[in-house]
């Protein structure tokens, strides 16, 4: 049996170790900051600390995402017993100065200081991302020192599986993958399902362009995901778990695999977890570039090593999933909420958010905004607050035109809806969806039909090809959008487009096809005039010679046969 970790001891010695340093300098080493040059910055910090001979007083900690990716690389200086300071756009030179001036002589480098009281930070509420940007994701000790694995220990010691599900039920936690299905309901279904073994899958196949919430959670706080999975497995009776991660996220894969190894060594995974009689094996499985694998049944096909095509439901995965066994699939962000809920109680969680959408939601804020990056906000916050307070508004005096939530499956929200709250029900009512959390803001330089075409092209290329309406419908809808956007579309093309939207939505096999028309429908709802403006006037045949546009289209097709039911 693996040795059992003593959580208390580990936390204690970690905190003691931290207290030996007078200053801790945290260097964001997330993917976004790394691509902005965080690697050399961290080197410079280390070297400067050595040169200044403050090694024993200063600890340089590589951390996960601090949030404001547009201002990276970010560095946060945390002197013991004093206010922390965050620096933006740090270069190796600035990094050297941070050590030499700020750390050594307590002189701030004013022009690079990032105000942490600004709304971008103060309007956020961090639960899932509580540790991101605060701890070294590669060290389990750091996680444990922040209270990590305490929720698991508590659950294993004091709670029956049913009681854990009850807590989740009371908390009102809903799936963060987009649809918002009550998490406890799913857990309960797996718990009640007959058959053994049961499987648990963490869905980290985040394919939405412009969305990297799950990646950040997996990269910056892998143990939180693992703890959430262990608790979920304990509650549901699953004995084997998979974390399905996109192959495009090598760092996430690496860190998760490492975290699993460490957890296993510490007795947190494998047999007799933390001395209990509960066993769980965890494994990382990587995708290979297929958006459709975010769909539950396609994801399972992919884990089984097959083509990632969705299959019919029922039977639902909780009845017959992986290899025909009961299986539950939760989004990574959903699972990352679990430890905090179990540790702090359902009531604590319920204080955040709205009556029906509780807790927080992580969004990847992108597009035409002053501040872009990763944010975690309470549910029910208005779009206006996200765009103008947190996002800092549109740069260069631009005008807000629309925000697209939910990526290619979602819809756009125009300026008139800026004051609507962001939660599952409201967004769905407005023809968009929460989605996994991509939020792209567009200014008035964007033409909405182009946006719809962009998303349709994505859906066309990501359609798996199994069902006819999605495979052929996305091709046809894209062709029609293409013609409209190129200025040679006719009224008839728009009519075909709308009728196809309805057919593809109602007849497609899986969520990809069913939601593929959403961007078209919502841009048509809010910006119909932009489509109409692009249409070529109809050709007249009343005695006048028809003018011939590039690709002439008849204004109205007529058919001899009767429509309607037979």
């Amino acid at each position: 049996m693996a040795k059992q970790i003593d959580l208390h001891d580990v936390a204690h010695s970690e905190l003691e170790m931290r207290s030996r340093y007078t200053t801790r300098v945290k260097a964001c080493s997330s993917t976004a900051c790394l691509s902005a040059g965080a690697g050399p910055v961290r080197q410079a910090l280390d070297q400067a600390a050595e040169r200044e001979d403050v090694n024993s007083d200063v600890q340089v900690v590589p951390t996960g995402c601090m949030g404001m990716c547009s201002s990276g690389p970010l560095v946060r200086v945390e002197p013991r017993g004093a206010e922390p300071t965050m620096y933006a756009q740090v270069t190796p030179d600035i990094a050297t100065r941070i050590i030499r001036e700020h750390v050594v002589v307590r002189k701030l480098i004013d022009e690079h200081v990032l105000d942490e009281d600004q709304p971008f930070f103060s309007r956020q509420r961090k639960i899932v991302l509580g540790n991101a940007g605060r701890i070294d994701p590669e060290r389990i000790e750091d996680y444990v020192a922040e209270g990590g694995y305490q929720a698991l220990a508590g659950a294993l010691n004091d709670l029956a599986p049913e009681e854990v599900i009850e807590i989740i039920d009371d908390s009102g936690l809903r799936g963060r993958g987009g649809a918002g299905y009550p998490t406890a309901k799913k857990w309960d279904m797996l718990r009640r399902a007959e058959g053994s073994p049961k499987y648990l899958i963490a869905n980290g196949d985040e394919g939405d362009q412009g969305a990297y919430m799950d990646r950040t959670i997996m990269e910056d706080d892998p143990h939180r995901v693992i703890e959430g999975m262990i608790i979920a497995a304990y509650a549901t009776g699953a004995s084997h778990g998979y974390i399905y991660v996109r192959a495009e996220y090598p760092t996430a894969v690496e860190r998760l695999e490492r975290a699993i190894r460490v957890a296993r060594r510490q007795g947190l995974l494998g047999r007799n977890i933390l001395g209990s009689d509960f066993d769980l094996q965890l494994e990382v499985r990587i995708g290979a570039g297929a958006f459709v694998c975010g769909e539950e049944t396609a994801l399972m096909a992919s884990i089984e090593g097959r083509r990632g095509t969705p299959s019919l439901r029922p039977p639902y995965p909780t009845e017959k999933g992986l290899w025909g066994q009961p299986t539950m699939i939760n989004n990574v962000e959903t699972l990352a909420n679990v430890p905090a809920i179990v540790a702090n109680g359902a009531e604590w969680f319920g204080e955040v958010g709205t009556a029906q959408s509780k807790g927080t939601k992580v969004f990847a804020l992108a597009g035409s905004l002053v501040n872009t990056g990763l944010i975690e906000v309470p549910m029910g916050i208005t779009l206006r607050e996200i765009v103008f307070d947190i996002g800092g508004g549109i740069p260069n005096d631009g005008v807000f035109k629309a925000a697209q939530s939910g990526g290619p499956s979602g819809g756009c929200l125009p300026a008139s809806l800026l004051d609507s709250p962001v939660d599952y029900e409201s967004l769905r009512k407005l023809g968009s969806m929460m989605g996994s959390g991509g939020l792209v803001v567009m200014d008035d330089s964007m033409r909405m039909p182009d946006v719809a075409r962009f998303y349709m092209e994505f859906c066309r290329e990501e359609s798996c090809g199994k069902c006819a309406p999605c495979r052929t419908g996305t091709v046809q809808m894209h062709a029609l959008l293409d013609r409209i956007c190129e200025g040679v579309g006719r009224r008839r093309d728009l009519q075909h487009l709308e009728s196809l939207c309805r057919t593809v939505r109602q007849t497609s096999l899986c969520g990809l096809g069913q939601s593929a028309p959403n961007p078209v429908v919502s841009t048509l709802d809010h910006f119909r005039h932009e489509y109409l403006d692009l249409l070529v006037p109809d050709v007249s045949y009343n005695g006048t010679a028809p003018s011939v546009p590039p690709r002439p289209q008849a204004p109205d097709p007529a058919v001899t046969t009767k429509g309607g039911s037979r």
Partner: protein, 179 residues
Amino acid sequence: MAEARTAERAAQGEGHPSGDERFALLDKTLRKARYQQDQLIEVLHVAQDLFGHLSEDILIYLARQLKLPPSRVYGVATFYHLFSFTAPGRHSATVCMGTACFVKGAEEIVQQLEAAHDVRSGQTTEDGELTVSTARCVGSCGLAPVVVVDGVVTSHQTAESTLAHVGEVLAKEPTEAST
């Protein structure tokens, strides 16, 4: 048929007849996967890392080793976009086409790259020097538009800056050094 012999020898546990050491590494992965058929995608990933792309020979080899029908292996490999079946160029430029990058003009970058190097996205130039491709969001949306050149992320790109950068990379290394 050479392929059939390959398979026979492989089935007898002799590994790949070519003696290519990379197949030994592939065998190691297969053993680690306990020749489980559901590990096909993982094994394909390893094979692509080792060989740069998935040739027919490799696919046949894996089919026989995992005792899967070749058509199934082909079906799986061609379903997922990350697997490639032709050798990549010596240099690569991948333009992110995620929403954030699209909104900030990534399309223009792709078009100009294609035009300047006479190559279609997803393909390699005739001299085998450069592969131009697009990606579905590399996750650095705060830095949009993003272009990954030879694995290095470059941020806030324009068509001009990308062309200049790619030009530099191509010029840096003489062709014979990499053959």
